[in-house]
Amino acid sequence: MKPPREQNFYEIFEIPATATREQIEQAYELAKKTYGDASLAAYSLFDLEERKEIVRKIHLAYETLSDENRRKQYDREIMKLDIQETLPPSGSAAMQTTRGVDRPDSSGEKPPKSEPVPIVIESLTGSELRRIRESRGIPLQEIANKTRINITYLEFLEKNKYGSLPPPVYLRSYVLQYARMLGLDPIPLADRILSLVEQAKKSDQQ
């Protein structure tokens, strides 16, 4: 088992990836009761902030899994993430495969469509994040509404305009929230974005 912050939508509901619509509904009702304000079971283990975070993830999980199309997309994405976890950390090689989906590389070797492709967070860019977000059917406005992050910043992020982003101390928490909305591993993504900001700053100075 993983800590809640690392759990995917199925894990947060403690249901199998093959769960029926009915099972998802039941799990959602139970999760709301378990981690909601009036909960007797959770308050002494999780503080208010942690419970809020779990509840936010529960709602997001439900919105995604209860919509057949979004669930299908999500399933494809977590399949990719699962495979990524089992792969040795070889950033550059894996990155080529990631790119291969949308833009086959010059050698013309295109991986078959059915083959899941890993996302390597350590080498992601803002525009690639946009593609991942779109592939999951999550509108940018929805992220802005839910996280209360100014949509302009989210647009800067997705347009690779790292120099225009807010200072790291704010940015870090923004990226953590953004990552969670996309179901990506938050901490490595925050590290990645902050390092991109750092690089942008350096090249500006040169």
Partner: protein, 321 residues
């Protein structure tokens, strides 16, 4: 975790009933689970392991048990069979708890081991240990020794908090036994203090911290963590929300401790329990058709068959009134 002779084929199953707080129905559950098992054709021995405050015999209507666990631990009785008193219920025997001698409340490790070996040698299918309130090492050790550790909880905040505290204590007790190095042991002791300098709040944090010190021990702790599967019984249930509590606690434990708690059932709040207790008679013999009695029969069945409740159980569940 179990000691004993692997060559001994008559392996009985040990259940331990604990849960931190007093008054959650540990003795009530122990006695009646035993009777429920006897209804299933099993031979059962109840042991009052509440060494400081024994009263399981009272739940069974026995005034003065002739022999007690302290006689056995003190060596006044040589063989465990001599300590077993009849309960008047077919196939259910009792070893009553120590009542008088305070020092017995803290038996030495060797004494506990000897007792366990003797228990395991008995030709009895189920042994039920009624643990006392609290989280003393004795109680935690008996809980860890058992094949099935059962937690009795009431649907109220204090009881729930104590069950969590109990689980946490069980964890760290077991972790300390796995850890050999002093530095790791110290880290585990530190983790018990919620405000420790390492920011260790959950067993996950602890395991991560330990893994940084010693990856091998980290892995071992993880394994130990997964092998703990306490069973939960919600007692004195009055509403559907109270039933749901068992599922909610199961979920919270999975997220916080990373362990599987199995929700094996609930017992309804029922005046028959109070009436039976006042008469010092077990519920299952006095009012076998009562709602509470039927709840206990179900809990016993789930435990014996290694099953638990699933959330679809909640659909359409209404308390029989």
């Amino acid at each position: 975790m179990r000691l004993g002779d692997p060559a001994n084929p008559s392996r009985n199953e040990i259940w331990a009933v604990g849960g931190g707080k007093g008054g959650t129905g540990k003795s009530f559950l122990s006695a009646n689970l035993g009777i429920a098992l006897s209804h299933r054709g099993k031979r059962v021995l109840l042991i009052d392991a509440d060494l400081g405050c024994a009263n399981l015999h009272t739940c069974l209507g026995i005034d003065y048990p002739e022999a007690t666990l302290s006689d056995l631990l003190k060596g006044r009785i040589k063989r465990i069979e001599q300590a077993i008193v009849p309960t008047g219920i077919p196939n259910v025997g009792l070893i009553s708890g120590a009542q008088d001698i305070l020092e017995v409340a803290n038996p030495k490790h060797a004494q506990k081991e000897r007792l366990l070996r003797q228990i395991q040698g008995l030709d009895i299918e189920y042994i039920i240990l009624d643990l006392g309130a609290g989280t003393s090492f004795n109680i935690l050790d008996f809980f860890l020794i058992a094949d099935q550790g059962i937690l009795a909880v009431l649907p109220e905040p204090t009881s729930i908090e104590n069950v969590y505290r109990f689980i946490k204590s069980v964890f760290y007790r077991r972790f300390r036994k796995v850890a050999k190095e002093d530095a790791v042991k110290e880290m585990i002791a530190l983790a018990m203090d919620q405000k420790n300098e390492f920011g260790i709040k959950t067993p996950y944090d602890l395991i991560e911290q330990v893994a940084r010190m010693d990856p091998g021990v980290g892995e071992q702790l993880k394994k130990e963590m997964y092998s703990l599967r306490p069973k939960l019984v919600v007692n004195q249930v009055r509403s559907k929300d109270d039933i749901t509590l068992g599922f909610s606690m199961r979920s919270s434990c999975a997220k916080y401790f990373g362990i599987t708690v199995e929700y094996v059932g609930y017992v309804e709040h029922d005046d028959h329990v109070w009436q039976a207790t006042k008469r010092r008679r077990p519920l299952l013999t006095e009012y076998p058709a009562s709602n509470a009695a039927r709840g206990i029969e179900k809990v016993a069945a789930h435990l014996a068959d290694h099953e638990q409740l699933t959330i679809d159980y909640l659909v359409g569940t209404a308390l029989r009134r």
